[in-house]
Symmetry: C2
Subunit: 247 residues, 2 copies
């Protein structure tokens, strides 16, 4: 068996060349990083859970008409996705104040925002993923106005869908990060949802206790990280049968 080619190793995933042109394999690691990788660690079984959770959410989003890169899960830690040209912008949707927003704007964690905010960060680890405005995106051509309109529309739809999905299982969707990518069809390109959606990229609080069920447990040394990720998967109904436990 020929050894497959690794395309990229990131902080939480490894990308391999896929079986067909235009596809890649996302391999989900247990590695956890925070504060732009200044803090590093592992969360046992995270990769398995995130692979499964992300599959579940992307499949559901496709069903409501949000185009995504997801094709199919291959095994416990891997999924096949369409290769995209990643738009170098991290799209953050916030419903409740948490994380950098609380520090930057002096707003107490947990404050319900008067309205949902979409923020854009320039995806560049060396620069610390700086916050940017539409103006910077337009100026440097990181995405076209049309693409940004599509991205904002999709981000709102993802927020609406996920807010409902998590509310139904007693979880408050505080905020989350999305990545989008371009695919080319003949001479035209369009943007689709890429990367992952998981407790690595969302803030999820238990609705009653406000217990954090996401990567903030790792960022803030709260302990029981793996249990929190499992709890999310369990409430989503994903911990029965084939996806339970380690490979």
């Amino acid at each position: 068996m020929a050894r497959r080619r690794q395309i990229y190793e990131g902080k939480a995933k490894i990308l391999y060349e896929g079986p067909e042109p235009g596809t890649i394999i996302q391999y989900f690691k247990d590695d956890a990083t925070a504060f732009n990788a200044q803090k590093k660690g592992q969360i046992a079984g995270k990769g398995v859970l995130n692979n499964r959770i992300s599959e579940h959410i992307f499949t559901n989003l496709a069903a409501i008409g949000v185009p995504t890169h997801f094709m199919r899960r291959l095994n416990m830690r891997e999924q096949l996705v369409r290769q995209v040209e990643i738009v170098p912008i991290e799209v953050v949707v916030r419903n409740v104040a948490a994380g950098t927003l609380t520090k930057r704007l002096g707003i107490e964690e947990g404050t319900q925002l008067p309205r949902t905010i979409i923020e854009y960060y320039y995806k560049d680890d060396a620069l610390g993923d700086p916050l940017i405005a539409d103006e910077h995106i337009a100026c440097f051509g990181w995405a076209s106005q049309e693409e940004m309109n599509d991205i904002a529309d999709m981000a709102i739809r993802v927020n609406d869908f996920m807010s409902g999905m998590f509310a139904a299982i007693g979880i408050r969707l505080v905020d989350f990060k999305l990545e989008f990518g371009r695919i080319w069809e003949n001479d035209y390109s369009r943007v689709i949802l890429a990367d992952e959606i998981s407790p690595d990229s969302c803030r999820l609080w238990d609705i009653k206790s406000n217990k954090k069920l996401d990567k903030d447990r790792f960022r803030q040394d709260l302990g029981e990280e793996a249990e929190a990720y499992q709890e999310v998967a369990r409430r989503l109904g994903l911990l029965n049968g084939e996806s339970e436990g380690e490979e």
Copy 2:
């Protein structure tokens, strides 16, 4: 003579109650600060020059139809202005990369931007004047969408006018900061240009030598700060007659 009431002492100016209701006096100090007032100093004669330069620019802007708070200069260091409710947003217009933009986005100082950028910063010294996007302004109600449209339109007009004015005297307008405020007329409010425009709030480079003729001389310990401010005033034709020298 009754002692007039001080309303506010800022980093570069003092505000006093004006002679008529709805007016205030801006007194221009020689104090210079940088990096959110971590660095403090003085530039001899700066207050006199900024008072005169700001008068000159605001008067010219009014003449092209940009509404401003400026009423009249009172003396060497003071001007009478309409009292406004300051919109807590610093509006930065950038033509060339410099300052925080170079650090945040990894762009070399002096790079001509592909297009002019308008940036908004939340005016809050305690938070270090963080960059914000339209989304934050709308979410927290710091200004209405209508006000932001007016502000952006005025900022572009100020940029166009000042780019021409400075180009004519061999100066490149790299970037500048504006503040706007609300005035009320019966039940309606509108935004007008407030605060000051001076080498404290603009980056001005000599077109040939790239010599900095602005507060960056102070920020970066380049020396000859007072001379740079004088040079700007001189080229603007403001150093003859009554406004020359100290009170």
